[in-house]
């Protein structure tokens, strides 16, 4: 086999891994993107909610084995999906008592100031969740193993009988579930009555109030949905990746990079942004040592905010 053939094989392998991981990243970015788009809130703690989604799935499926009746394959994925409603409830309450104090109509006039306060408040929430997680869950890395984690589909490459691609089944299923959940959410936002309410509140909060929409409630629901979606993504990551309470930090940058890249307010944009980051991460392994994979993401993130910061809030120049 030629070295070029080997390169193609490695490249395609990285490409497939990138698409699958990218789909999961896309889903978590969609969660952050909804919070961003509807509430214009910078949530620094999004990565920690992803971590909570992982531990929720872990305790439900492995710790207490409450989904034994679903079997070893369906159980973990059901657990991941259940993390959505569970974390929705947590986020709903958190918004009611904490986040709503620094967001919403009350800070609408103080654009810049409001963001700082939100960023710093959610940093506090992140620290509490991260270290509270360490207290509750311990620092030992955990994982939600399924029989699929160690299995792969082998896809033969037609041009060479000796070459084939391996598709990890756990990642493949997680990727497909991510796409389905993201599509369902897309339908919810664009077609349902609730979605219309959320979009109205996002577009013009004061006008929405005059139309009889409870904007504070809309914000709370958006916050809950955003967190819930990211938690589902966390549960899916848990099926193929070991985790500990500090894992959120690695993902928060990925999420922001994806959302900034996709342009805010667009669910599809956030998904494709996440997908791009997944591809960049996996393809970077072709040229960089694995330890620098995460460093590469941070560099890409920096490049994205430098080159296209208006992706986030749309307005490039300030009127003077």
């Amino acid at each position: 086999m030629t070295s070029f053939g080997t390169f193609i094989e490695i490249f395609l392998q990285a490409l497939i891994a990138g698409v699958l991981i990218g789909a999961i990243y896309g889903l978590m970015c969609v969660g952050l993107g909804i919070i961003f788009g509807v509430m214009r809130v910078i949530n620094f703690a999004q990565g920690e909610f992803l971590m909570l989604g992982m531990y929720f799935t872990f305790y439900l499926v492995v710790g207490f084995n409450m989904l034994w009746f679903l079997g070893p394959i369906v159980g973990p994925y059901t657990g991941a999906l259940l993390a959505g409603p569970a974390l929705f409830a947590v986020a709903y309450v958190l918004h009611r008592f904490l986040i709503s104090r620094v967001t919403g109509i009350s800070v609408a006039g103080t654009e810049g100031e409001g963001h700082y306060v939100q960023l710093i408040l959610t940093l506090g929430v992140a620290l509490v969740l991260q270290n509270g997680g360490l207290i509750l869950f311990g620092s030992t890395p955990q994982s939600v193993r399924t029989p699929l984690s160690a299995r792969a589909w082998e896809i033969p490459l037609l041009y060479d009988a000796n070459a084939s691609l391996f598709l990890n089944k756990a990642r493949a299923v997680a990727g497909v579930v991510s796409v389905v959940v993201a599509a369902a959410l897309y339908w919810l936002i664009n077609r349902s009555r609730l979605g219309k309410t959320l979009r109205a509140a996002a577009d013009n909060a004061s006008a929405a109030i005059y139309m009889g929409i409870d904007v504070d409630r809309a914000y709370r629901i958006a916050f809950g949905i955003g967190i819930g979606i990211t938690a589902i993504a966390g549960g899916l990551v848990a099926t193929y990746n070991p985790f500990q309470p500090y894992i959120g930090l690695d993902f928060v940058i990925i999420m922001y990079a994806g959302v900034v890249l996709g342009g805010m307010g667009s669910i599809l944009g956030a998904f494709w942004g996440g997908m791009t980051i997944g591809l960049v991460q996996q393809l970077s392994t072709l040229v960089l040592p694995t330890q620098l994979q995460n460093a590469a993401i941070f560099v890409v993130f920096l490049l994205i905010v430098m080159v296209r910061p208006q992706g986030l809030f749309g307005r490039a120049t300030e009127r003077v």
Binding site: I42, L98, R101, V102, G112, H115, Y116, V117, L119, I120, L121, L123, G124, V125, A126, L127, V128, L129, Q130, N131, G132, G133, L134, I135, S139, P245, L249, I253, Y256, P289, Q291, L292, N294, A295, F298, V299, F301, L302, V305, M306, P309, L312, T317, E318, V320
Partner: protein, 589 residues
Amino acid sequence: MQVRRKLIAPLLVIAIVAIAWISLGMVVTNSYYQLMLTLVPIWAVMGLSWNLLSGYTGLISFGHAAFFGLGAYTVTIALVKFDITPWLGIPLGMIVGAVAGIVIGYPTFRLRGVYFALAMLAYPMALLYVFVWLGYQEVPLPMKREEPALYMQFSDYRVYIALAVGLLVVSLLISLAVERSRFGMSLTAIKQNEPAAEAAGIDTLAWKMRAIMLSGAVAAAAGGLYAVVLLVVTPDSVFGVLTSAQALTIALFGGIGILWGPLIGAAILIPLSETLQAHLGDVIPGIQGVVYGIAIILVVLLAPEGVFWRVRDQFQRRWATRAVQATPLAPHIVTAAPAPATPRKPILAVSGISKSFGGLRAVTNVSFEIGDGEIVGIIGPNGAGKTTLFNLLNGFLQADSGKVVFAGHELIGLKPNRICRLGVGRTFQVARAFPRLSVLNNVVVGAYATTTNDADAFAAASAALAQVGLFGRADAIAGQLTNKELRLMELARALAGRPRLLLMDEPLAGLASQEIEDMLAVIRSLAARGMTIVIIEHTMRAMVRLSERFVVLDHGAILAVGQPSEVINNGGVIEAYLGKKWAAIRARS
């Protein structure tokens, strides 16, 4: 003189804190409390470093661990690999920190607000992985038994306490020097209104770069000493998010934008979290982070600017009830001289400038000249491109094509602060004040453009305030002014830079009729002293009385130029303002 007297109190406080701390260190014998007495000053220094950048400029940094970690690793690697003593390693680390400030600051200062904060987070995270990759997972500092003092290794722990306090004193003095000079004032102006600072002649990028270099050097010094004290460095402990969060929390908790803030924050939070860590750390491993998290949440909800300001506001409120409101002095009246009739030589020549935003052509091929000492009105319906034209002239926007020559200098391509320094002053449609500074300090910021020492700047600012009749309100806080006072203050800020050409964007907007008369009197008095003034204004009646010439813009292009009486009878102008029907009626009568 006055400035010097104001410095005595803070210097005294710094001396007392240092002496008290060292005395405490002499008495305490428990090695654990000795470590705490060393860590509090080190983290206070880290908080001061954060405050130097983020507290004064308002650009929140989530990545100060980058500087701290680089300082710590510079000292460690210098000692381990090259046998360089920390006495030299720490200064070396400070240089590395300052250079990192340049490398990080230059690209990142293009970002604002949230983007800046998030981008700053990425630097230490990337560095963390790079240092792990380089194989520096856990680097112990080697013991030097022969000449310990030469390698900053002491058996008597009190020396470390003294070193930490020494570093703290230096950092406090640096902060004090920044706070009480045009450095700090410029940073504060940037924090409160960056475009206004730039238009008032402050080179905002240069000041921010100086701030991040200084901040990086101070943080690196803290990191270097931290490595020396703890004798082991890991990427997580120095580049980790908790390090950045700790710097931010300490400053934010104690009070931002003031040198006492980080001191208060460190003195309360470090003993609290370290004690909890020591007593409960084995049982509850993450307790330190939880404490910081809760501290941040409580501060944001209860005292968003920190403990220092909260307490000070409490005291001031008690004071204010007793204090008597100062009565404003009578405005300084200047009578206008009649305008000279001789032809003027041009001071500003605009030729063929254009600007479009995407498909929208905001300004199209505009050319005109302004004579020295002239008052020219730029009029035109809403959306005609008047403010865009001003933004092109003072450098907020870059023209797509065309030339602007002011007193022999080409202005296109220059930054607003350079254009201001060349002698082009500007006021804004919506007055842009530095709301939390006093009226005098607002104007002083404008005076920095043309003065080199602070006394001159204050004198120029006072003169400018007198010129607009606002001297009696010099000590008021800008946020409390009326609309008219705000506009006069903004005018004074522009005047303090001694401009030859003044661009005024709707100076009469929102003023009552008597206030308009006052404002017109001030503008005429400026013209009488030979200043060239270009005004955008809608109030046609006032403009006809004030201007010698009109430039009429419509849809971004020049519609007419000429004497006010000619222009207001020009059919095209009437049509642009009132529509075709009115133009036809005027033509018939």
